[in-house]
């Protein structure tokens, strides 16, 4: 396609910057979700702009953390189960705004009465001394851990589209937010949990807030022509994960060139680790979110564990569980390769990659030269035989030493991806023609995670982009945190 060269130049520029930052920063990718801790928050609704990955920008109404700029999505509020939370809302817009917290029982005070909740105006009316119309205080105590959505309760058909949305993450109470005993091969290893027991234990977590925008609507609002907006004629052409269109989804957290879009969703893991996906349907459309590389086990929906076990909290119970790729998940967890993400719904899923039963040795071990390859699937204890997946050497033992199954096509007949290491083996790089590859410094396996409504993989008519990001399975031992 004649678009190919232009596309790769644009992508290359952004990815060069992204990779340089990855190599320079010690904490370079998402091991835990970024956000702001509670228990008190001050959110101010402000206007600003966001960058779309086709090189344009969109007018934004966003929640700002205190005196910072507005952001899209709003700040991720990270709180603890059982902890009383206070969110103070201020407003710099000429229209009233508010916040509704899905799944929470909220008491609102201040501001003016609204249809769904109390709303904040821009200014306090000096004529009403007893009431401060410009400040609403929302208080609630999250009793259940999980992933939740907050968004404006005022004219939501317009205000949520304009950017007034964000995620609330409720961690389990301190006693069960992290715990040992979830890794049968190393009972001392401490893992985090999403719901207080090993069924939701994870090594890394990533938040995926899925939204879409119609730039025509944003333009009308920016020009002061709100009355001309017809949300019934909504036609999205931009799609986002965590407020960024692909491949900006891979740029670092708080990238300086995306000042109002701080969050990324580039997940890094190694074989045998568990990744927690917190998926939020924050737009008005459904999106089928597909994970390449393996199925994910959806363990919770709307902040409730999918289990028949009534005694979910606080007892860390391993009843009502079933085996997953690694470890256990609740018994009613559903294994999906594509999660139908409904608007307003949240999902928590566990994903793990082991290379189980691939049939060939993903590390390219050479049986004729064991001295060169000390990892021989022995659980770290020489002479020991491990069946199944070795959590120390991180390989599927039955495939150890099995050769690569096919003869490889000559490189002159291949088109290479930016994330291809040059070798089919995990942890190996290989020769590539000049200018090819280069965005896989550790020679991991990259897998695209994306909306499978393929139209949504575009940024305003430009392919590729939109609702896509990557997972990389790095070789074992690669520092992730």
């Amino acid at each position: 396609m004649d678009k190919t060269k232009k596309r790769f130049r644009g992508l290359t520029g952004m990815l060069v910057a992204a990779t340089l930052l990855l190599l320079l920063l010690p904490v370079c990718a998402l091991a835990a979700v970024n956000g702001i801790p509670g228990p008190t928050f001050t959110l101010t609704v402000k206007t600003d702009h966001i960058s779309t990955a086709d090189g344009s920008n969109l007018f934004l109404w966003g929640y700002a953390d205190g005196t910072n700029r507005a952001q899209y999505p709003g700040p991720t509020l990270i709180v603890t189960q059982g902890q009383p939370i206070t969110v103070t809302l201020k407003n710099q817009l000429d229209v009233p705004v508010s916040i509704v917290f899905a799944g929470q029982t909220v008491t609102a005070s201040g501001g003016i009465p609204g249809l769904l909740t109390r709303e904040a105006l821009k200014n306090d009316d000096p004529g009403t001394l007893a009431v401060d119309e410009s400040t609403v205080t929302y208080t609630f105590t999250p009793t259940e851990p999980g992933t939740y959505l907050y968004s404006s309760g005022t004219d939501p058909h317009l205000q949520v589209q304009m950017g007034l949305l964000g995620a609330l993450i409720v961690r389990p109470s301190a006693a069960t937010a992290t715990m040992p005993g979830c890794d049968p091969t190393d009972p001392t290893r401490v893992m985090a949990t999403a719901y207080g027991d090993c069924r939701s234990a994870y090594d890394y977590e990533t938040l995926f807030i899925l939204t879409e925008t119609d730039p025509a609507l944003h333009t009308l609002v920016e020009l002061g022509r709100i009355e001309e907006v017809k949300t019934t004629e909504f036609f999205p052409v931009n799609w986002f994960i965590n407020g960024r269109g692909g491949p900006d989804t891979l740029a670092p957290y708080k990238a300086s060139w995306l000042p109002t879009q701080p969050y990324e969703c580039f997940t890094r893991t190694t074989p045998g680790d568990r990744v927690l996906l917190r998926i939020v349907g924050a737009g008005r459309d459904s999106h089928p979110f597909h994970t390449h590389g393996n199925n994910m086990d959806v363990i919770a929906r709307d902040g409730r564990l999918l289990t028949t076990d009534p005694a979910i909290q606080p007892a860390p119970s391993l009843t009502a569980a079933r085996a997953a790729e690694v470890g256990v998940v609740p018994d009613l967890a559903v294994s999906n390769f594509t999660n139908n993400t409904l608007p307003g719904a949240t999902y928590d899923a566990i994903y793990a990659w082991t290379g189980r039963n691939l049939g060939w040795d993903v590390y390219g071990h050479d049986l004729a030269n064991p001295a060169l390859d000390p990892a021989i699937c022995d659980g770290g204890i020489p002479g020991r035989v491990v069946n199944g997946f070795d959590m120390v050497t991180r390989e599927w033992c039955a495939d150890h030493g099995n050769p690569f199954p096919v003869a490889r096509t000559d490189i002159k007949d291949l088109t290479f991806g930016q994330f291809y290491s040059g070798s089919p083996f995990l942890g190996s790089a290989g020769a590539l023609p000049p200018g090819e590859g280069g965005f896989n410094p550790n020679a991991g396996f990259f897998f695209m995670w994306h909306s499978h409504n393929e139209k949504e993989l575009t940024n305003n008519d430009i392919f590729p982009g939109g609702m896509l990001t990557m997972l990389v399975v790095e070789p074992p031992g690669t520092p992730i945190k």
Binding site: D373, N402, T415
Partner: protein, 430 residues
Amino acid sequence: MNYGKTFFRLLLVALLGMPAVPASAEVFFQCPGYVPLTDRDANSDGVLRFRDGELSGPFTLPNGFTRDTLPADQDVVCKHLVAGDGFVNMADKTVDHGAGTGVGKLQYIFGFANATGTPDPQVMSDFMLRMEFPAPTITLRQRDHFYLTLSNVGMVMRPDLFDPHSVHYHGFPNASAIFDGEPMSSISINMGASLTYYYNNVEPGTFMYHCHVEATEHMQMGMLGNLYVTPAQDAGPAINGFTRFAYNDEDGSTGYNVAYPVQIHNFDPNFHDASMNVQPLPFAEMEDLYPMLNGRGYPDTVDTTPEGLANSETGNFSQKVNALITAVRGDRILLRISSLATTSFHTLTTTGIPMLVVGKDARKLGPPNDTSQYIRTNSITLGGGEAVDVILDTLGIPAGTYFLYTSNVYHLNNNTEEYGGMMTEIRIVP
């Protein structure tokens, strides 16, 4: 670590039983045990299968087994797919598209076709402009070692394009990047050459496959098809009178008498016409106006002409998969439903036969010997990239013709022809 030497040593071992890789662009079918000009697809099932006697040469698999030592529950299966362009006609024959009525709208497609058994030097000339929609159905069995060669025969109608292609086996568990077919993460094959994928099929279920190069464009243009894997339990003893099952359920609860793959995918005629006419592709305006099941709108979905439907441009039979479901009263029908729609979600329902969902995304719902997580329903909703296994139990259902159709009723049309679209028939005979 010196991976260079390692690789070549492994390459030698891997090549045992297979000829050497050509150094210049050439179609090159790789298949363990394949003897060219001798071995062919004798039973016309679309693959070369070792245990059907269709691979007569020696081979050694990566796991070390040879043709003499391969355990009885394992098999070797090879398929040669080609990728390129072609044509199909939509079902709106009552609409005049410029040459009178009687022929549905001609649509330019990108697609796949089955070249298994065609000698390598003949592949390009035999298959240029002869792609099919949907792509050939790939049926596999649990424990099959599947070797899939993809050859890119180029786009005849678009000589300005040099698109590579790939195969993404959607849902394959613990996939490797090299065989996942996602072009940013690995490799894809240029025109005039071949790339071979290897899959050790350990997970039964309903999957799907499609090209992932420039996915939005190539998928809208039709490079996609059905793929499913039957369980090892099929080779075991009958359970409750069933010998075929969707999963290794251990209690026969996913047993069926007849099975049909049904794939949802729709065309945007403006997009296809723009592609044909070398115009900028309308991604942002993409809107599917021809809703289809298995590549056809009703009533073409129930056209059972054995060789398929020929397109009006080249006469090639380019739509070879119908969507008609037939059963004897009392049968349990397994519908392997997948969606590769690029713009929208769809709900499918039947006129009067209740559904039992036993699997989702190639996993049985619930553990073996446990039916408590099956879902009794009358409709299923799929977005692109999702799959479900649905059993229709016709016990107690009177004989007759029923419909499987979308309750997104605005898709019960073939564009401006207000009759048809995403609908097919379930014919129950007494």
